[in-house]
Symmetry: none
Subunit: 421 residues, 2 copies
């Protein structure tokens, strides 16, 4: 089966926002076994939208449409949708209840403009918006299903994951696809490619496709295979992963099965701590609170997280975390001595079972020949021992912050599991 992705909105055409919705939808469809033939972005203009609908009608089984569903005047997708299907807009009581509940929860009345969100083309299958007020709409013309959703990414994503993909799977016979993603940390994409080169060349024999999905500090390797015998697909992929473990086992920190929640180092570490009924605290200098924000983004973080101190000055490192003043004069704030004191003292301050401390030169300025931009020291501690590690990342500030966070979390994971570091 084939699909087309259509993004509606002037903001994309003038280059004001990058179209990340299309990428995400393409990934989901690809994982479901639906081939994306075409992606297009068009203006909030009725004639242009209709032309795009007609083009899609002639060649795709599914048309995924995002954007242009807001309550404001520049959003015309719904009106155009109704006209294309030659059906009037009618008030949908369930959507109205959803809109009312959305506003009432926030102590607000539903305005006339917002009541209009509850209008949908007659005969359409309404896709409930659990995070917002604009409903999604599913309608069929000839053999093509048109699915219109809001452009707000998290509203759209919930609709696709919870309703649209399950409905497509239920109503169609799609080939089986078995995907598994191997998560690695601490090794770059090109080094990885060299290590696994022979293994990779042999994948085609078993009709397994490999994709490298790199992000700062992490490379995900996605293996996928499609066919009619699910058990065979699964066995083939799992066998290859066993071989891969022998080659790059020390870099692997986890696996993702398709359709399950994304596995992150912060989620792995949080789950480990929760299982052990243990807690964590952080002393973050160069990462400036970023590791703490990753941990606390996870619901229930307070079970395992006692807190963090971001001592962004030497005075704060000394006064809040008792780093000896003389360290700043001898080794400096970016040193083994400093991060070890930070890790030991933050552990005591918060009475946590584990701690992480980081100190580095995030850049773009502040580097010297001896201590270049990208130099980072990380220490991990518990009551028994403190271990510290030196890294030199790159010259991009944001990337250095992310690399430090990912590396720290993986070191903590190994420390908790008593793996060789």
């Amino acid at each position: 089966m084939t699909a087309e992705i259509l993004t509606i909105g002037d903001e994309i055409l003038i280059g004001q926002i990058t179209n990340t919705n299309s990428v995400w939808i393409a990934q989901q469809l690809n994982l479901t076994g639906i081939k994306v033939l075409h992606m297009a972005s068009v203006a909030d203009d009725e004639a242009v939208i209709i032309t795009a609908f007609d083009a899609a009608l002639s060649r795709a089984d599914f048309v995924f449409i995002t954007g242009g569903l807001g309550p404001t005047k520049d959003d015309i997708t719904k009106k155009t949708f109704a006209e294309y299907f030659e059906t009037p807009l009618v008030l949908n009581e369930e959507v109205l209840a959803n809109v009312s509940s959305f506003f009432n929860k926030r102590g607000k009345e539903v305005s006339e403009v917002n009541r209009q969100q509850a209008l949908v083309p007659e005969g359409c299958f309404v896709i409930k918006n659990v995070h917002g007020t604009a409903p999604g709409m599913w309608m069929k013309k000839k053999n093509t299903v048109f699915i219109s959703m809001p452009g707000v990414p998290y509203e759209m994503k919930a609709m696709v994951t919870d309703i649209v993909i399950p409905k497509i799977k239920k109503e169609n016979t799609l080939p089986f696809i078995y995907h598994k993603t191997v998560l690695t940390q601490g090794v770059g994409e090109s080094t990885l490619a060299e290590i696994i080169s022979d293994w990779e060349n042999n994948l085609s024999v078993k009709k397994i496709k490999l994709a490298y999905l790199p992000q700062p500090g992490i490379v995900r390797l996605r293996l996928s295979s499609s066919g009619t015998d699910f058990n065979l697909l699964k066995k083939n992929v799992e066998d290859e992963i066993e071989k891969l473990k022998l080659l790059i086992g020390k870099y692997i920190f986890g696996f993702e099965d398709y359709g399950e929640a994304a596995v992150t180092l912060q989620s792995i570490v949080s789950d480990l701590l929760r299982a052990n009924k243990q807690t964590l605290s952080l002393a973050e200098s160069c990462t400036g609170g970023y590791i703490s924000s990753l941990i606390t983004a996870i619901p229930g973080a307070s079970d395992i997280f006692k807190g963090a101190i971001v001592p962004y000055t030497n005075t704060a490192k000394n006064e809040l975390l008792n780093v000896d003043q003389k360290i700043f004069l001898t080794s400096g704030a970016v040193s083994r001595e400093c991060v070890e004191q930070l890790a030991k003292n933050v552990l005591k301050k918060f009475k946590s079972d584990y701690s992480i401390a980081v100190s580095g030169i995030a850049g773009p300025t502040g580097g010297t020949i001896e201590k270049p931009v990208g130099l980072v020291w990380i220490a991990i501690a518990n009551a028994e021992k403190t271990q510290s590690f030196k890294f030199i990342f790159g010259d991009n500030r944001q990337r250095n912050i992310i690399m430090t966070a990912q590396t720290s979390l993986n070191l903590l994971r190994k420390f908790i599991l008593k793996l060789p570091i």
Copy 2:
């Protein structure tokens, strides 16, 4: 004049890479006064590419094509291009010299595969590639100019900036476009739409287009107008913004001129503090270090940022930031009393000029009838005074964290500027 942007390559359709080339080209065209009508991404497939060329031929003055020009077998754009223009591929000596020089500089011989890079459709205007080997091609069919360029961003960008746009400007008379974006915080898209409804209805008289660009906690309003008299366009837009200020002035925190760097609340607050040679510290409970990570993501943050404490437990709030134990028994950790003590005490701990403290129920669990998920208290302090504010956001944890951060930073901005809050 109008343009269409066409991206060729399977890697975009399977969601493996995000299409950033299109965004960048759209920005350049917009600044040049060329309206982008349509963007599309299609597979490396001859028939599909020809269909896309034909569609573009019927509606655009310029077609910008990227991708599919590499030397490997799956790259078929050039062959398709020559067929579309019914002209043979011929060896171009200048391109061959460029390709040879490229490889010779790197101490390599030019392979047969790479010699083929010097083939171009007969009669085409060659766009020199200063950073690589695949040449760009400019050809005209009927009234439409087709411009094919490599997909490697920095190769393509140099061609557009140095050759394509200057050539378009030389050969055509283009209109001017004036854009300005108004940044608002603390008001939702639909409420904003109601307040400015009459103003918005009158924009068409001056041929100004308005777009709402919402993100959590922030709505950006983009005004744009095109015509032949740049000063008039600018005056019209600026006049309307003056009227807008009278309606929603209290929500406006800044402006973005098109093509300049994005303006964020953290950058505005950092710049204000830097200009005043003042500093900030944070006590972040429900935001868990997120505000700190926003501030420290900006290069040079150490000039204005002393640090943060994330007291994720009541014990930490008491021991690290001296919140009275009795407050937890009476008002609770999510209360005016608690955030005010946090703000005052973190200010003293870090000896900063300003502080922000936040405490709330981020969710998804932990809410009660009296204190629902989404309830957040924020306090802002300096040595003279402490002000605190209560908010009820929504039920999405990540969104509540972002809304709290944006709201806090805007409150601090107003506090520093002594604006009414």
